[in-house]
Every structure is written in C-alpha cells, then in structure tokens.
Amino acid sequence: STGTAAKPTAAADKSDSEKTLRWDNWALYIDVDDAGNYPTLEAFTAETGIKVEYTEAVDDNNTYYGKVKDQLALGKDIGADTVCLTDWMVGRLARFGYLQELDHANIPNLANLLPTLKDVDFDPGRALSVPWQGGFAGICWNKEKFPDGIGSVEELWSTPELKGRVGVLSEMRDTMGLIMLDAGVDISGDWGDDEFTAAIDVLKKQVSDGQVRNIKGNSYKEDLVNGDSLAAIVWSGDIVQLNAENGDKWGFVVPEKGGTIWNDNFVVPIGSAHKANAEALIDYYYDPAVAAEVAAYVNYITPVAGAKEAAMEIDPELAENQLIFPDDATLAKAKVFRTLTGAEEQTYGAQFQSILLGA
C-alpha cells in the first residue's frame, strides 16, 4: 500500500567509524567448519578489521521482501547492510529505488566477474548489485526408482509411475521457465502472454490430473528424502548436498531443451550506513581463492572467474563438477528468465499463484 511516493534517499555512510557489517543471507550458503564458524568470514575480519554479523535471514525472496519492504519504503535501516537476493527481486528493488549505488572503485576484484554476468537487464552495468552465487533449475530423480533417469519436463508429465510423486518449485520463474523452455520458448528473449499462458495451461493440467502433487519452496528437499516426490524440478546445489547426506541417491540434469540459471546478488539496502564495508566484503569474496573455498562448500555456481583454477588446487574432482563449474555446453542449455515489468509481474504472478492455490 505504499503510494508512488518519492524514492527514499540513501543513508549517510559511517563505515569509516564503524567497522561492522550485517549480512543477511540464505541458509547453508557459506562455508562452515565443524565448530560452526565461517572460515572465510573470519579471515575477512582478520584482514580488514570489519566485524561481520552473518544471519541466515533469507528463506524466500517474497517473505524477506514482506519483512523489510516497509522499512525500505521509509528509507530506514532494515537490520542488514548487505543481503543476497535473486535477480528478479533485485530488479524490483532497483525499480523502487530501494538500493544504494555501488562504488566500483572500492571493488577492484569486480574485474573477476564472469563476463556473461557483467551486464544484466535488471541492472545495467551492475551499478546496484553483484552476484554472490548462482545455480540451475533442472530435473532430479530418485535413482533407485528410476535407474534410467528422467531427462525432460515432458517425461515428468508422461511417466505413469510418477503420478502424484512429481514435485515442482513454487518459484514461478524456475518452474514456468522450464515448462516454457520445454515448449521451445526462449525465456531470455522476447516472449509474451501467449507463451506464458500456454505453459500455465500445461502446469494446470498436470496439477489437476494429480500428476504433480508437490509444489514447494525449499521444503521440496524433505519430499525427496521422505519419498513424497520421486522426481522434481529442483535447484542444482541442493542435490549435491542431499546426495552427500543421503548417499548418492538422486540424479540431476539440466534438460536438453533448457534449464534456468539464476544468481543471488549482493545488494546494499537504502538504509544501510555501512556501504563501504559491504563493498570491502564483496571485493574480498571476488578473490578467486576465496570464491573457490566457498564453492567447495556450498556447491553452487560461483560467478568469479579464476575460481575454477583455484578449486583445482583444493579438489580436482570438484572443479570437474558441471553443477559447480559448468562448462560452456552446460551453460549454453541454461537460460536467464527475462525481467518482467511491474504489470507482468502482477498478472503472471497471479496466474501462477492461482494454480498453487488450486483455483
């Protein structure tokens, strides 16, 4: 219910006097040692003297936004100096003027940013955001039940043994992205209502037929573990982790017709008084050696060029993993869901939600 009020202005920076930084991030998204400490963060503090308060406060782009939007609208501190959010949410925050402009001079390591990510449509020139980690949305399956694997979205729909045991993500851009790609739409390109509606119809049919039962956020992992889902549209990094915990039980593939790729990006909210500290942090994590250390732990795609080489030194097998250091062939199959306008976000969101709500 915020009006189209004047955009808030950035808070004055106090980084010189206050060597602190509050960082909100997703769960299990940074390296942790056995004692529960964050080695790279500790190293950062040792190096710069900036104390970092790291909180796993982001569970979902929407709920996080719901929590902080009021403060953002008022230009107030949201309790975090930097936070990692997904592309489309960054796009929305940027549109609303809720983000502070980054001073690239303070981030020399930004030169290591992968070229493909340097210029994105929601943030031309990366003035407001810098990627933290990224990932694919693809298909995974239970290898015990389906030794032959499931290779495409179409197979999810057409395999009778999967009836009622298919899961999809409640994240619209991933689920819809995969379905549209399956229908041959280039989701990064110039598509419109027709393409989207056609995909919605597919999903709607599968849900109402009972083929798809589980539409989940992050909790899809439990469904995979407890057997409610035997195959699902999932995020790549989770599968690596699940396999590590539960014995190599699941296969993952980016479908031939394409999967989505996304990034979570550092942003500095408008009310933060520690932008310079945040920039120092970003700079630190763009050191390929640090990036490799994080990648080795979180198993997501790192946006830092040279990290793969650094990873080779830690663990060659890791460096070969297509899900962490994808090669060009894999990358070619992955598309970025194009940025939606406010109006599109509204209508497409409503259409997608109406399936989730069973209407």
Partner: protein, 247 residues
Amino acid sequence: MIPIAYTFVFSFNDSLKSNITWRGFTLDKWLNVCAVQNGAVCEAFGNSLLIGAVSTVLATTLGTMIAIALVRYRFKFRAGTSLLLFLPMATPEVVLGAGLAAQFLSLGVPKDMLTIILAHTMFCISFVVVTVKARVAGLDPALEEAGRDLYGSPAQVFARITFPLLLPGILAAALLSFALSFDDFIITNFNSGAVTTFPKYIYISASRGIPAEANVIASAVFILALVIVVTAQVSAAARAKRQARLG
C-alpha cells in the same frame, strides 16, 4: 502425543544440515544447542522468551484491570466493551496479523521486537480478561466488604484481599498468555520485520530442514513445563497432607 515423541526422538538424531532421516543417536545436539548457525536457534528462543514475558506482563495487567471493571462495575458501553473483547478472539490470526501489519505500515512504525510485543499483547488481552473475569465473578464481594468493614481503606483492601484472592486466576491468565505468545507464529510472521522468534525460526528452517537443535529446545521446554507442573502438583499435595496432619 506421537509428534511430541517424534520431536523428542529426533532431537537425538545425528543429523547434518537437515533433520529428516534418522542417522544415529547422539547427545551432541543437546550438549551444543547454541552452536549451530552462530546460535540462531538460541537467539530465536531467547527472543520468544523475551517477547512472551513482556507481552504477558502487559496483557495480564491490562486484562486484569478490564476484568475487574467488567464484573464489578456498571457503566455505559458495557456491551460494546464486551464485544470489543470478544472480537479479537473471534478474529482469525491471519486477519489480526495482516491488519496490524497494515496499521504499523501506515503509521510508519518499523517492524521489530516492539511491534511483535504490541501485537502479542493485543491478542492476549482478551484471553486474560476471560480467565480473570471468571475468577472475579467467583470472588465473593462479601470478602471485600468484610475488608472495608475491618477498617481497610480501598487500597489496603485491594492489596490484601482482592489481589491475593485473584492471584491464581491472574497466574493462570499469565501462563496462558505466555503460552499463546510463545507459540504464536502467524501474527508474528506478519509483524516481526527482521526479528526471528522460535516458531518463526522453525517455519523458516522448515523449508531447508530444521536442525535437530530446534527439537532439542522444544523438547527441553516441554520437559521443563512437565516438571514444573508435576512439582507444583506434588508439593500442593504434600502441603495438603501436612495441613491435614496439623488438623
């Protein structure tokens, strides 16, 4: 009962990041509850305790005052007051939460601990009134009159007669309001901003696998409550026995 047992058992699970499959018995989680995620569980738990305590005190005070007024005095808008008290109980939590969230928004109040406390106090008041009201209604007015008759000024009568006699009801109300506040998720979720309470922590972690430490804390609270109640009962029985012996 089954889920409680489940929760309890899985608090011993030697889980890694998520606590879904049984991976073996360990006491580690009990011993190092606060270690995980830099103590996020414990922090959430602490927040919940704090919020519960403060809103309980507020709600109990305000609610008790209303209850006394409702039973003891006759005034205009009695019916209106009763309705106003009943409404929050009749209002689904989503509505309460969403409404309050919108209110804070339009007032420009940032959401934090304070807004949670304000919200919790609001929905607890009604329950306190109902609880204490029953007690006040059961309180023989003759006792207060006897106090006045025996030279007690109004303040003394309240302090020495009314309050001690209402105390069990007030305590019950406080306990209820603490339990409601402690276990509330829906209203909290709408009004918490960046603050995480224990139920909210669980809700958030639900999407990525709840660490066994949450089970530890929940089980501990449960056991603690059980112990407190049982001790209270046993000591009450013992007291009764002692007094019977005196008799």
